[in-house]
Every structure is written in structure tokens, then in C-alpha cells.
Amino acid sequence: MRILAIDTSNLVLSTAVVEEERVLGEWTTNLNKNHSVRLMESISQLLDSLDLGPDQLDGIAVARGPGSYTGVRIGVATAKTMAWSLNIPVIGVSSLQAVAANAGGYSGMIVPLFDARRGQVYTGGYRSGPDMTAREVLPERIILLRDWLPMAAEAAADGPVLFLGDDVSIHRSVITEVLGEQAQFAPPFFNHPRAAGIGWLAAKQIGRAGNVHQLVPEYLQLAEAEAKLKARGCST
């Protein structure tokens, strides 16, 4: 089984082709450059260098967000279009889980985060499972960093909390202020998502892929209508 994996949900543009036991190739840049212009070129160059044609793919994996709305849409729309036209399954993987996966094997709490502006972050809490997959233990959300840090610290009990993501550097002083030595920081190459990891996570679920049209972006924002409905006590 061969999967093409894509992430354009944040600044990183990453594409990879993976098999169950092997990463065949991966291309990653971390720049504020136009993903919509560069994504197809990156896919086509990667496939060319691997001497693969699109018909030799068995599935598509994509980071479905959270992140940049525009970026998420570029990746998800491309993945769905390719999967639909090639008639192969598509799997969406959380963009946060993709970063958390970098720390598979870490014994403490893993907290990936992306800056969401206005003091907020997209984040969640993960722990490494026996198969090195990062499992979600605190559900992903958009939250004020100041509100989130005590929650993450408490959930980690007295254990260490590893913060991952390029945006951690913006918030490092606040994190250290609240968590002190409980907070740990990763080297730079742990901080960005890698399409190879997304492909690997997707390979585990590809048998359960639904209809291509069922895959939708995950913005982690409540639509105003949804928020109002919830405020009135109705469930959605």
C-alpha cells in the first residue's frame, strides 16, 4: 500500500509518499510562500523523482487542520480532488496530532500548539502510546493560552509537559512563567509537521476511510450559529 501525504495547513508545506514499513520520499519547506501555487508542483516533483505515477497510489492522507483557514482548504481540496479522480480513499489527520507524532516515545504530556492570534492557541494534550502514536488525552481546542496552561499542567500531574510547534517561541516566556521547570521545549526539527508522519498515521486508518465527500476541514472554531445554538442549550 502506497500513500501520498500532504500538509499545507500552516506555514509548512510538506508532501511525502509512504508505504507501511518505509518512507519513500518527503519534501518539506517552512516558509510563508503561496501553498496554492507550490503544492501541485511539489507533489509532481516528488512522484517524478520516485518514478511513480498517480495510478500507483493507493490512498491520500491530508492534514485537515486546525491552522490557516486558507492553508487547510488548499490541502483538503487538493487531497479530495485527487482521491476522487483516482478513486482511492482519503484520510484526514489532525494537524496538531501530526506535530505531536514527532515526539512519539516521550514519557510526559505532549502539547503541540499553533498560535491562533488574540492570545489564543490551537492546542491539545497527547501521550505517546505503546506503538509510539501520540494519542489525544486532552481534546483539541482553541483557547486562551493563559487558560490552557494551568489545565495542561494539571492533566500532566507532576510530570513534564513538552511544548511543540514553531509558534511556541512566541509564547515561551508565558509558558515558563506558568509552568516553570515542568515545561520542556523541543529542538527545532521536532516543531514542524512532516507529511511522512501524516502518511503513517493515515495508513493505520485507511481501511476505515469513508466516502471522499465526508472529509471536511477542521477549523476548531464554532460557527456563530453553532455557538448560539449551544448557548441556548441545544445540542448539535
Binding site: 492570534r117 464554532l222 460557527a223 456563530e224 450559529a225
Partner: protein, 158 residues
């Protein structure tokens, strides 16, 4: 009470000239909330602003496209949110507001909850004949300074 940031223009050309000068003081990440009835000159204003930002392309109303992006000294993000009122939080507008360019939002008051706290509200209204009134209302330090600067250097209109 004196309103320090109110201008009156005799014509559409004067409105554009003012906007063109205003553009010279803008920085990446600036947000202008543009208010005014139909025909008050919102698009005219934006055209002047675009010229001041060095946008070569012609600017027209983004009513149907919602957002148009132009390349100039700074990128200009021209939005008309008249039709998106209820879906504004689904558009990812923050990427523009906090981006590398200048955002101009027509009918901004309709999406009040998703606008940045700090911004410059520009209210245009029709006066006698061809006359147009323009009121600048700064929110936040950056925009207060911007208005002071414009008040000091901008000698046009009345």
C-alpha cells in the same frame, strides 16, 4: 466638543486624493473599517487608497468575490462583508487582518465580533451636492498616532 478627525471634500476626486495621502502612512497589519451608505464613496475611497499604496491594477467592488487582493507597496486586502454577516468567522479573516498587508473592510460593522479590537474606522457620508464628509475614528494607540500624523500633515479638502 471638537471632532479633530473630520474632513469635508467637495468631490469624489478630493476623497480619492485624501485616501491616497492616507495610504502613505499605512503599515503592514493596519485595518480600516469602512462605513457609509451606498453611494457615500466607499469604493471611491478604496481606489484612492490603492493608488497611494502603489497598486497598478484597477480596483472595483468585491461585493460578490468578498475579498480581493492587490499587490502594491504593501498588499491591499479589499473586503466587502455585506453578504457574509453570519459566516464571517468561517472565512479566516484574521489571516488578512494580522497579515502583511493593509485590510480595508466595507460594511465592517456587520462583522463587529470578528474585527480586531484596534482599528481605524472611516465613516463616509454624503453632504450637500457633491460634498462628502469623512470621519476617522481611531481605536488603539497605533491608530491614534496615525490620525495625529494625518491631521498634522494632510492639507487637503477644507
Amino acid at each position: 466638543m471638537v471632532e479633530p478627525y473630520v474632513w469635508t471634500f467637495a468631490s469624489a476626486e478630493e476623497t480619492q486624493q485624501f485616501a491616497r495621502r492616507l495610504a502613505e502612512y499605512l503599515q503592514p497589519g493596519d485595518v480600516l473599517a469602512l462605513e457609509g451608505d451606498l453611494g457615500a464613496g466607499k469604493t471611491t475611497f478604496t481606489q484612492g487608497l490603492a493608488r497611494g499604496l502603489g497598486v497598478a491594477e484597477g480596483v472595483n467592488s468585491p461585493t460578490f468575490t468578498i475579498i480581493k487582493e492587490y499587490a502594491g507597496r504593501l498588499p491591499l486586502y479589499h473586503m466587502d462583508v455585506y453578504r457574509v454577516e453570519n459566516d464571517a468567522d468561517q472565512l479566516g479573516l484574521d489571516e488578512y487582518f494580522y497579515g502583511d498587508g493593509v485590510s480595508v473592510v466595507e460594511w465592517a460593522s456587520l462583522i463587529e465580533p470578528v474585527l480586531p479590537e484596534e482599528r481605524l474606522t472611516v465613516t463616509l457620508s454624503v453632504g450637500e451636492g457633491q460634498a462628502r464628509r469623512c470621519r476617522l475614528e481611531p481605536r488603539g494607540r497605533r491608530y491614534e498616532e496615525l490620525c495625529e500624523e494625518i491631521g498634522k500633515h494632510a492639507h487637503f479638502g477644507n
